[in-house]
């Protein structure tokens, strides 16, 4: 099967190469230039707004730059200092905990909602829009403020919990609950992965379910043996995206906890600490080094996810005995 799919591809590549030959001869001088000209807004954008700052920040991460004075080279000092910096370690801890909580919870919720919305019921369009809605406005400051108010002392959530005898004294002021509050905020914004799951669910061939049903498989069995393997590429895509996103949570955390990660440093996310070091304390060299460590960390996690993916992600067309 796999050989059959590769062969025509190679053929078409050869055909394309064959066509490129004659096309080259008739090309006018300046054609390439026009191409680059059309690309220029993006090239300029990448060089000036992404590549330039990245290279600069890499350089600054080896300096003691403080925004005001010209930077002095300090070698690896910034990187070394991180490992003895209690607040840096705390921020890594908080961020890791958040990623480990928020990503699985959000994905599970998104998948659950997608399965519910996949069936044919009256008003599905409305429900899909309703569940997708929060993710459109999710990143905004306003939502985070409302969220904080909802979870504060004597507010809606607190009152409800008091009714059932749970007294937290307000999640926003309790270091044991504040992170969970942000996890719930992320979960509430499950719209984007949900839509992708929904698309994935629609791709699962109905005949597989029918065949399984004939064989006497129950709901749970069908979910584990058909749905999950069939949507595993979509699941992997969502997992990757959400993990990388979760590492970079900033707006909601800043609104809830401010630059010190209130209460008591329980929401001191990596990005918050980075921002505070750079723009609050003016230790821009250190902040740059932190940014590169974050890139390194996220990169490692991504590589790790890709590695494990080989074991559990199945692409349609794969035959089980390929390996």
């Amino acid at each position: 099967m796999s050989r059959a799919t590769i062969a025509p591809e190679r053929e078409s590549r050869e055909v394309a190469a064959g066509q490129a030959g004659p096309a080259k001869r008739t090309r006018l001088p300046g054609d390439g230039l026009a191409g680059y000209l059309f690309l220029s807004p993006w090239i300029i954008g990448i060089v000036l707004l992404t590549l330039g700052p990245m290279v600069t920040s890499l350089y600054l991460s080896f300096t003691d730059y403080d925004l005001f004075n010209s930077p002095n080279w300090v070698g690896l000092e910034n990187y070394q200092r991180m490992f003895t910096d209690a607040r840096w370690l705390r921020s890594v801890q908080v961020t890791a905990l958040y990623v480990l909580l928020a990503v699985p919870i959000k994905l599970a919720a998104a998948l659950g909602v997608a399965i519910l919305l996949n069936g044919k019921r009256a008003g599905q369009g409305f429900y899909r829009a309703a569940f997708y809605g929060p993710s459109l406005i999710g990143g905004s400051v306003g939502v985070a403020i409302v969220w904080k108010m909802m979870f504060s002392d004597d507010s809606v959530v607190d009152q409800l919990l008091l009714r059932v005898g749970v007294d937290t004294g307000g999640w926003a002021g309790n270091p044991d609950f504040s992170l969970m509050m942000l996890v719930l905020l992320a979960t509430w914004q499950l719209g984007a992965p949900m839509v992708i799951f929904l698309a994935g669910l629609k791709q699962v061939p109905r005949e597989l379910y029918e065949a399984a049903e004939v064989d006497g498989a129950g709901r749970a069995r069908r979910f584990w043996s058909i749905t999950l393997p069939m949507i595993s590429p979509v699941l992997f895509f969502n997992l990757l995206l959400e993990t990388i996103n979760a590492f970079q949570v900033f707006t909601s955390a800043y609104v809830v906890g401010g630059p010190n990660g209130q209460p008591a440093g329980s929401t001191l996310f990596y990005t918050i600490y980075l921002f505070d070091r750079g723009f609050g304390d003016y230790r821009m060299g250190y902040a740059s080094a932190m940014a590169w460590m974050l890139l390194l960390g996220v990169g490692l996690v991504t590589v790790f996810l890709f590695r494990t993916a080989r074991g559990w992600v199945f692409y349609s067309g794969d035959s089980g005995d390929r390996k």
Partner: protein
């Protein structure tokens, strides 16, 4: 791939790094000649202050038709982030509101214009109150002029004191009296006696000054040792553990409001000009009284220069900028517009014009009854950062997340890192 793409968010946030600070500059030609100019003017504050500021700016523009002022404002924290990036990018506003704690930070980095060059020409300083006269001066250069002055006071609800049978605060009451009052009030009325005073850096400064010490020495070092800080932290820890003060959980959640304006506490130490704000918010009738002392006759107070105005070193119109500063400090109309919004006005003329009524009259009377000690030297570079660390550490202490000794160590580590460089 995905990681790289996502990282763009971060990378663009560091775009400010492209701009590298370069020193020097300043106006060319005759610096004291004010020609037509457009001034950018930034301050921190809220919408209420912005409205007053706009009235003052309109008045300034009508008096100086060839000078146009473009205002902008942020909240305190966001303001300093913006000032840092703008200054680093060589794009600082012409006139900027300056905090005493940041004055040296900016002047040491060559970001501020020496206003001495404009004194007598475009800038009048003769009418400033005694305690504020040399306040913006560092090494003989004038980097800022205060637009207000305020001092530490004790604002309280006398009804709760009476209800608890606690004697009202009077001159010479001690910190022991203060702590006892806190405990009695919560025991008898159920209302917490106050916020925990260790949360504010100025309470530490006040205690130190009452012991003839300083928060920062002349050469920019800490004016106290670990043992002294430990003592301070232990006082607050005991108050928190006894439940005499508002629990930190509550304090964190009501931000940015203050406990006193929500009637959550019986009293609190703070800047006296907050009287106006509390009075507007609180249902209770509030009074302004004397601060606790170490021993009678040692109030340790000084008139703190608040909201200085500085001119950027890079400004192309230093003369026009100085005119704006002078107007904001001296013009009686401006004094009338602001009242005590920025602390009590800094000049005699403005104080006379301010028509202080109700709670503000109480603030004026309070300040007149005080004997101010000398204003301390401008805090060292990094003082703003260190104050933030202090707030953070005392918060964790109150949450019981770190023991007193660790809190003390953390603060001294931070101080070494911040002041040492």
């Amino acid at each position: 791939m995905g990681a790289l793409k996502r990282f763009r968010v971060l990378a663009t946030s560091l775009v400010a790094l492209l701009a590298v600070a370069c020193g020097g500059g300043g106006g060319s030609g005759d610096e004291t000649q004010a020609g037509p100019a457009t001034l950018r003017f930034s301050w921190w504050g809220n919408a209420e202050r912005a409205e007053l500021m706009q009235q003052a700016i309109d008045l300034f523009q009508s008096r100086n038709p060839d000078i146009k002022v473009t205002p902008s404002f942020q909240e305190f924290e966001a303001y300093w982030q913006k000032m840092a990036t703008e200054t680093a990018g060589g794009n600082a506003p012409d006139v900027l509101q300056m905090d005493f704690a940041y004055l040296r930070e900016y002047s040491d980095r060559n970001a501020l214009y020496d206003l001495k060059k404009q004194e007598g020409e475009n800038l009048e300083l003769g009418d400033l109150l005694d305690g504020l006269k040399g306040a913006g001066e560092i090494d003989g250069k004038l980097y800022g002029v205060p637009t207000g002055g305020n001092t530490w006071g004790y604002i309280y609800n006398p009804a709760l004191f009476t209800e608890a049978g606690v004697e009202l605060p009077k001159d010479g009451w001690t910190w022991d009296d203060y702590r006892e009052a806190m405990a009695s009030i919560v025991a008898k009325t159920g209302v917490h006696g106050g916020g925990n005073y260790i949360g504010s850096y100025y309470n530490l400064e006040l205690q130190l000054r009452q012991e003839d010490k300083l928060l920062y020495t002349e050469d920019g070092k800490l004016g106290f040792d670990k043992a002294r800080l430990k003592e301070f932290f232990e006082e607050g820890k005991a108050l928190a553990d006894a439940g005499a003060v508002l629990p930190i959980e509550k304090g964190v959640q009501i931000k940015p409001s203050f406990a006193l304006e929500l009637d959550l506490v019986a009293g609190d130490l703070g800047w006296d000009n907050f009287m106006a704000r509390y009075d507007k918010g609180a249902k209770a009738e509030l009074q302004l009284g004397p601060v606790p002392t170490a021993k009678a006759g040692t109030s340790g107070q000084y008139l703190k220069p608040s909201m200085l105005l500085s001119v950027s070193q890079k400004s192309e119109h230093p003369a026009a900028a100085a005119k704006l500063v002078s107007f904001m400090v001296n013009d009686p109309e401006v004094g009338r517009i602001f009242g005590a919004n920025r602390g009590l006005p800094p000049t005699k003329a403005q104080r006379a014009a301010a028509q202080l009524e109700g709670p503000l009259a109480a603030v004026a009377a309070y300040e007149e009854g005080l004997e101010f000690g000398p204003t301390p030297p401008a805090p060292p570079k990094g003082a703003g950062t260190l104050e933030q660390a202090f707030i953070r550490i005392t918060e964790e202490l109150q949450y019981g997340r770190i023991p007193v000794d660790e809190a003390v160590d953390q603060f001294f580590t931070e101080a070494e890192e911040t002041l040492g460089s």
